[in-house]
């Protein structure tokens, strides 16, 4: 005769198996079809009885069915394995939590002989399902939001899942074997959460670090590509310049020839043509990317871009192979930053904003020249320009230039040359090589 306790046990087992399959379907929706659904329902019922024959058989059978169903999914094996483990973990842990709630929190006692046991069983299953569905929804949301295609990270997740699941199953089986399952339910659940918490935190840190590394690598790659692109552009520029040079010479030579014949019409035409923009468009070649000091290159490129964005006419000359080996690039960058900022600020107020820069290399020294046009009504008292508190700007502390003076004064190999002639403000910073 079938006792109520047996019925409740079968019911619980069947709903559990069904839940296991359902969770799987939520994570791998592409395997949902009529055939698989039929298999799921059939197995849920049949496997329950398999355990009657020999305890544990159902688990093996379920595993086989799951992987049979998953074989058609095109996802990575890694993913399938992780999902399987996750599925197990979710269903087993929610089952524990549900039992814990029913027995310990609601203080319901279990009496195998009564029909109540069937009700309790159903109650636990219901709770189990609710908890599992909630958990699955959260996890699915997290997966969709933070899906990482990096293989290493997927392995780490799989490993964490394996450890958690295995330790949990181990825990449950041990307590079942020692017939203390109900007594230690609370403890097992607590241990489970501790394990999950530790592994999740550990794995998260590792994954975070690894993601940073991936991002850094990607950034490096982009920079590399940009540099390649710039080199290519500079090479093209070079070709174009050569062509333009020959062409201009030819035109001019032609003009000189015709001048002898007094063919004024032709001269006019050529003259008009040589002075049009199509021939005179300036091809900028800054050679900026040949600067090997990244700080110094950085400040020059940044300020050049700033000036261009403000529609300032720029002319930059960069010597090839400048040796910055013994220079203090932090100090140089600070000085250049202040000088560029002042120059840009001053020149945008002038009628024709111009910013010129040259980096000159000598055998034993380097020189930076920064020149800018200044508005004609702007007065610059060159006498006091480097005095602290002096500024040509209103409401401005003038600390910038005083800072430059401080840096230059504290380095016996730095020389500063400042001039303001014919509406052009010019600063030359010479840095001698220290022997």
């Amino acid at each position: 005769m079938i006792s109520f306790s047996n019925i409740s046990w079968y019911l619980a087992s069947a709903t559990n198996t069904l839940l296991l399959f359902m969770v799987l379907l939520v994570f791998v929706p592409e395997i949902v079809n009529r055939f698989n659904i039929s298999i799921i329902i059939l197995s849920s019922i049949l496997f329950t009885f398999a355990d009657v024959v020999k305890n544990g058989t159902s688990f093996v059978l379920i595993t086989i069915v799951i992987f049979y169903m998953l074989r058609k999914s095109k996802r990575k094996k890694l993913f399938k394995l992780s999902i399987f483990l996750l599925d197990l973990l979710i269903t087993i842990s929610t089952q524990s939590i549900a039992s814990y709630i029913v027995f310990n929190l609601l203080k319901i006692t279990f009496s195998p002989a009564l029909i109540e046991s069937v009700v309790i069983s159903l109650l636990i299953s219901l709770l189990n399902w609710i908890l599992a569905i909630g958990l699955v929804l959260i996890i699915r949301y997290l997966i969709n939001k933070f899906y990482i295609s990096d293989e290493l990270i997927q392995w780490i997740i799989l490993l964490s899942l394996t450890i958690i699941t295995a330790s949990y199953i181990g825990l449950v089986l041990t307590s079942r074997y020692l017939k203390v399952q109900l007594t230690y339910l609370k403890l097992t659940t607590a241990i489970l959460f501790l394990i999950i918490a530790f592994i999740t935190i550990g794995a998260s840190f590792f994954i975070y670090g690894h993601i940073k590394k991936i991002q850094a690598d990607a950034e490096l790659k982009t920079i590399e590509n940009t540099n390649l692109y710039i080199q290519e552009l500079e090479r093209k520029n070079e070709d174009l310049r050569g062509l333009k040079h020959d062409y201009k010479n030819l035109l001019l030579s032609l003009e000189a020839t015709i001048k002898d014949d007094n063919n004024t019409e032709a001269i006019k035409k050529i003259n008009a043509y040589t002075s049009t923009n199509s021939v005179n468009t300036k091809i900028e070649d800054s050679g900026l990317y040949s600067i090997d000091d990244e700080l110094i290159r950085g400040i020059i490129v940044t300020k050049l871009v700033t000036a261009k964005n403000k529609n300032i006419e720029t002319h930059f000359e960069i010597a090839d192979s400048v040796n910055f080996a013994n220079s203090n690039s932090v100090e140089i960058t600070r000085i250049l930053g202040i000088l560029f900022d002042n120059a840009i600020e001053a020149t945008i107020k002038s009628e024709k904003p111009i910013l010129d820069f040259a980096l000159i290399s000598y055998d034993d020294s380097i020189e930076f020249i920064i020149k800018n046009s200044v508005s004609p009504n702007q007065k610059i008292d060159i006498n006091n320009i480097y005095t602290s508190g002096f500024s040509t700007k209103k409401n401005h502390s003038g600390l910038g230039l005083a800072n430059i003076k401080r840096i230059v004064d504290s380095n016996s190999n730095y020389y500063l040359n400042t001039s303001f002639k014919n509406g052009i403000f010019e600063v030359i910073l010479t840095i001698l090589e220290v022997k």
Partner: protein
């Protein structure tokens, strides 16, 4: 005063055209002593001219790229600058990768004319450059005292009377102040004082050029110069400066 003009341009038509500009200039200014020893398509000829330079100031008009030659105008200019710091160099070229500021600073080139501006404008620029050179040479016949200073191994020159005062920044660095510039160089005030006796010490770190002295502000302890610039004077040196100014 003697001015020698040297012209080097590899395009024959242009060479002839520039030659005409210079010939006209010489014809229009018979009062100056100008010779035109070389016009050539070949930079080698300019090099051999440099081996035995005649008397006078040289005025070079150089293209930067020469088609059939290894020598570049820039190499030539460097050689010229090594031989003389007062010769004038004008680049006349369509080479627009030219680092104008760099060579102005490195070679102290006098002018840089781009060929895009057209023949008429080129003619005008050459005339202007020759005029200002001639004017400078005429002025220099008065022989103003030059002050030479160095930054590293490179030497620069400036008229001493453009300088208002010298100020020591630290033990090895001095800056001089002119009407429109401040320049730093290596040196010590003591060495300057003994080399240029005319300079007068008004402060432990300041030497002034009395030729540019305008007045003394006794209240603020400032020396004021002809161009309106000023510098500090120490209390103890006030009476000495007054005596010095009165005596000269």
């Amino acid at each position: 005063m003697l001015l020698n003009i040297i012209l080097c341009e590899d395009d024959k038509n242009l060479l002839m055209y520039y030659r005409l500009i210079i010939k006209n200039y010489i014809k229009d200014h018979p009062q100056y002593d100008i010779s035109f020893p070389i016009y050539s398509q070949n930079p080698r000829e300019v090099e051999s001219y440099l081996d035995t330079p005649p008397e006078g100031i040289n005025f070079f008009i150089l293209d930067i790229e020469f088609h059939d030659s290894q020598t570049r105008g820039l190499d030539l200019a460097e050689k010229i600058r090594k031989l003389s710091s007062i010769d004038k160099i004008v680049f006349l070229t369509s080479y627009d990768q030219f680092a104008k500021m760099t060579y102005e600073r490195k070679l102290q080139s006098f002018d840089y004319i781009t060929k895009d501006i057209g023949l008429t404008n080129i003619e005008k620029r050459i005339d202007d450059d020759l005029n200002s050179t001639v004017n400078e040479l005429l002025e220099n016949d008065d022989q103003p005292v030059k002050f030479s200073y160095s930054i590293g191994p490179r030497e620069y020159k400036v008229d001493l009377d453009d300088i208002d005062y010298f100020e020591a920044s630290d033990s090895h660095k001095i800056s001089f102040h002119t009407k429109d510039s401040i320049e730093q160089f290596q040196g010590s005030l003591t060495a300057l004082e003994s080399k240029y006796e005319n300079l007068f010490r008004v402060h432990k770190s300041i030497l002034i050029n009395p030729n540019n002295f305008e007045e003394l502000d006794k209240h603020k302890h400032k020396v004021i110069f002809k161009d309106g610039k000023n510098c500090d004077i120490s209390r103890r040196r006030v009476s000495a400066l007054i005596r010095y100014i009165v005596s000269t």
